[in-house]
């Protein structure tokens, strides 16, 4: 390996970036800005005070108690109390509320007579995060009222013997993210998502540019005609920049969490570095296969641009068709998220985490070797140059 050629190629790339403010932006302030905007967006961590409407057709002491409990729940705010279910649904369609609670007429009377009454909780399933949060909090508030009623009403009217707890109780606990913080969860996905996409399109630009402008011979001549050091040299500036952003993102997550790293920080850094290298190798492969910068960028958009959806992190892949599961396994991002979950949140042993690390290394090697081989052909074939 010729370090001289590598350094020369890296210097050439840095010189280019200095003179091309938009290419520089793509590798510097644009990904950083996007990360900051996302960190800001989720800064409230857990949605609070989500608006609901209550249709109280009972207008009794009990129904007013339910409304008070709903209002007191930190996750909810009773934004409206319309007269009819129809007008409440209209508010839901206008997105002014995410849920509607219906207290039917005769609720209090039914409790006093038969010991039990039903209420309905409607929630917006199109806006899932808000809708499900509302449904959960409405359920908790109504249960609290129910328990209170069980002691007062039922015990008074039907005798304490009838007050017996349900035969089974379940205590639910969330491990590794006790606050159920969406901020920690979503930023943990979005930081590496934004960065690997930016890395991939920046690298496609860096390699593709040499073919588009037919400057590939110049580039190689500047690097002593040594292909591998030339390619590595070109990658180095981006690789260092993005690894630094990735580590800053990790530090932000750790600072938010306030619990430190469950596993080894060094493995997370190594994982970040391997992920960016893998996407650089894949970018090289796309350029070398298509020999056309726009086609390579389209491939990168389809491949890296959709990786969050296919990673299985937001929606599980168990039960998914084979194509979806296969595609998910073909993304270095999926492997990195596995590693991040294990080392940042859960503190898994290294014997477990060695697999995602090895997967990413495999991507680097396979895509890298095929990419180098094909780019070598393209470099000798003038017909591959200047295509747009």
């Amino acid at each position: 390996m010729s370090m001289r050629a590598l350094r020369a190629s890296a210097r050439r790339e840095i010189r280019f970036l200095r003179n091309s403010p938009w290419d520089l932006a793509l590798a510097t302030w644009i990904p950083c800005l996007l990360m900051i905007v996302m960190a800001w967006l989720f800064s409230s961590a857990v949605p609070r005070e989500l608006p609901i409407a209550v249709v109280d057709l009972d207008q009794s002491t009990t129904s007013r108690d339910v409304v008070r409990h709903l209002q007191a729940s930190p996750g909810l705010t009773v934004a409206a109390q319309p007269e009819s279910l129809q007008s409440a649904f209209s508010l839901a369609r206008a997105l002014q509320v995410y849920g509607v609670v219906l207290i039917p007429g005769g609720t209090e009377r039914d409790i006093q007579r038969t010991g039990s009454a039903s209420m309905v909780s409607y929630f917006n399933a199109s806006y899932q995060v808000a809708g499900q949060a509302v449904a959960r909090d409405v359920d908790a508030a109504v249960q609290a009222v129910s328990e209170k009623l069980a002691i007062t009403e039922v015990a008074l009217s039907r005798g304490p013997a009838n007050v017996r707890a349900a035969p089974i109780s379940v205590q639910s606990t969330v491990l590794f993210n006790p606050g159920r913080s969406y901020e920690h969860f979503l930023l943990g996905l979005l930081f590496p998502a934004i960065l690997h996409m930016a890395m991939c399109v920046a690298m496609v630009g860096a390699f593709g540019r040499e073919l588009r402008d037919a400057s590939i011979r110049h580039w190689l001549r500047d690097s002593d005609d040594r292909l591998v050091p030339a390619i590595l040299g070109k990658t180095v500036p981006y690789f260092l920049l993005f690894t630094v952003y990735g580590v800053l993102g990790l530090l932000w997550l750790i600072a938010l969490n306030g619990q430190g790293v469950a596993g080894g920080f060094i493995w997370l850094v190594l994982g970040q570095a391997l992920m960016y290298l893998a996407y650089a190798a894949i970018a090289l492969l796309f350029v070398a296969v298509s020999r056309n910068m726009v086609s390579a960028l389209s491939m990168a958009g389809l491949y890296a641009g959709t990786s969050l959806a296919f990673s299985g992190a937001t929606f599980p892949l168990q039960g998914a068709p084979w194509f979806t599961r296969l595609w998910s396994d073909l993304l270095p991002y999926t492997a990195y998220l596995k590693l991040q979950k294990q080392q940042l949140d859960m503190g898994s042993t290294l014997t477990v985490s060695i697999w995602p690390l090895a997967t990413m290394l495999l991507f680097v090697l396979v895509a890298g070797i095929v990419g180098v081989w094909l780019l070598g052909y393209a470099a000798r074939d003038p017909a591959a140059w200047g295509r747009r």
């Binding site: 010991g115 899932q128 035969p167 491990l175 159920r180 979503l186 979005l190 958009g301 959709t306 979950k341």
Partner: protein, 378 residues
């Protein structure tokens, strides 16, 4: 129109990518409702009742029982190895407690490192436990009398997206975003190509409106293709308010085209658009507040996001197509889209203003489709 049709790049991004994405993207969520989430049980009771509960768990669709271990640390190890998303712990004395009429205590743990998955697994387990609880209540009743049912029962009903599918909640919003992003790419490629070839953007008024209407037509067709054909193919909730969707769609597309013409005017190279669009799509989606509630978003970001057609557009399309909203219920989105169209439209007109010297010759070319745009191709 012909210029777009003959430019391979513009064609590829506008039509090819759109069709590709329309099948590719929903594939990630095709199974709609999650099932078979791995769960591990810590059974410290070894009673017939605990075994019965485990059988119940295994029968629930949401859950796949991966194993039964003897201690909590062992179960934690299974979760850390990524082989389970949730743990159910059955303590010693579970059956004895229940037969005595004391509450049997269970503990359910979800992996919070992956919030969505954990809650699905936990909901599935809770479902099985409730069913089991009802049977146990009957057994208890044989010797202790019928327990009181809770004074208030809550019936939960999902609205609009009634199967509560994940794909049907995400993809319609993403579809609107894909239409916007591919129009942005198409327009930016067109504008950058003009700049590369002629060094300037100047367009006659008819030329400007010709290009705008050509792109609007493509945009409208793609939006309808998604909202009709693809949502039908994937069986998503759709066509809640078709005439409203057409109106909002037209306003959305016109605002996107105006926005794209304005933004596109700053591009000097064809390839730049692809790079920027790829990395900004994800943040734009989250800024639209479809999956992160607007109430939890900092005010400044809420206002800034209004400058993007996708914000009002995604919400209007989802509300009309999926939630069946009536026009007054999307009024604010429609106004925002109209304002954005005028705002970016006038900025774009100014960016592409014809130079005074060339103005005369452009006016003669009445047939914009053939003259102004075919000149792109030489």
């Amino acid at each position: 129109m012909r210029a777009i049709a003959t430019d391979r790049v513009a064609m590829l991004s506008l039509v090819g990518a759109l069709v590709l994405y329309s099948f590719f993207y929903p594939a990630a969520y095709q199974h709609q409702v999650a099932r078979d989430l791995p769960l591990v049980v810590v059974n410290l009771d070894h009673s017939s009742m605990s075994r019965e509960l485990i059988r119940k768990l295994d029968a629930v669709q949401a859950i796949h029982l991966v194993g039964i271990v003897e201690s909590m640390p062992a179960a934690r190890g299974v979760v850390e190895a990524g082989e389970a998303e949730a743990v159910l712990s059955i303590p010693a004395g579970f059956e004895r407690d229940i037969l005595r009429g004391v509450q049997g205590q269970l503990a359910l743990f979800g992996n919070g490192a992956v919030l969505g998955r954990a809650s699905i697994a936990m909901q599935g387990a809770a479902l099985a436990i409730t069913a089991f609880g009802q049977e146990v209540a009957l057994q208890q009743a044989q010797f202790m009398g019928i327990p009181a049912s809770p004074p208030l029962r809550l019936i939960e009903r999902p609205l609009f997206n009634t199967v509560e599918g994940y794909g049907s909640s995400i993809v319609p919003g993403v579809a609107a975003l894909i239409v916007q992003q591919s129009l942005l790419i198409g327009v930016a490629v067109m504008a950058a190509t003009r700049r590369e070839r002629y060094g300037k953007l100047r367009l006659s008024r008819p030329g400007f409106f010709g290009i705008a209407s050509a792109f609007s037509m493509i945009g409208m067709i793609s939006l309808l293709y998604f909202s009709g054909l693809i949502f039908w193919f994937q069986d998503y909730p759709r066509a809640g308010n078709l005439s409203g969707l057409l109106l909002a769609g037209a306003l959305f597309i016109s605002s996107v085209v105006a926005f794209a013409l304005f933004c596109g005017s700053f591009f000097r190279t064809r390839e730049r658009a692809f790079q920027l669009i790829t990395i900004t799509s994800l943040p734009l989606f989250f800024l639209s507040n479809l999956s992160w509630p607007v109430e939890a978003t900092p005010d400044i970001l809420v206002y800034a996001a209004q400058l993007l057609p996708s914000t009002a557009g995604i919400n209007a399309v989802v509300k009309l197509n999926q939630m069946g909203a009536r026009l007054p219920e999307v009024f604010s989105e429609l106004v925002k889209l109209a304002v954005l169209t005028i705002f970016y439209g006038s900025l774009a007109l100014w960016r592409y203003r014809p130079g005074p010297a060339k103005h005369g010759s452009y006016i003669e070319n009445r047939d914009i489709e053939t003259v102004t745009m075919v000149s792109d191709e030489d």
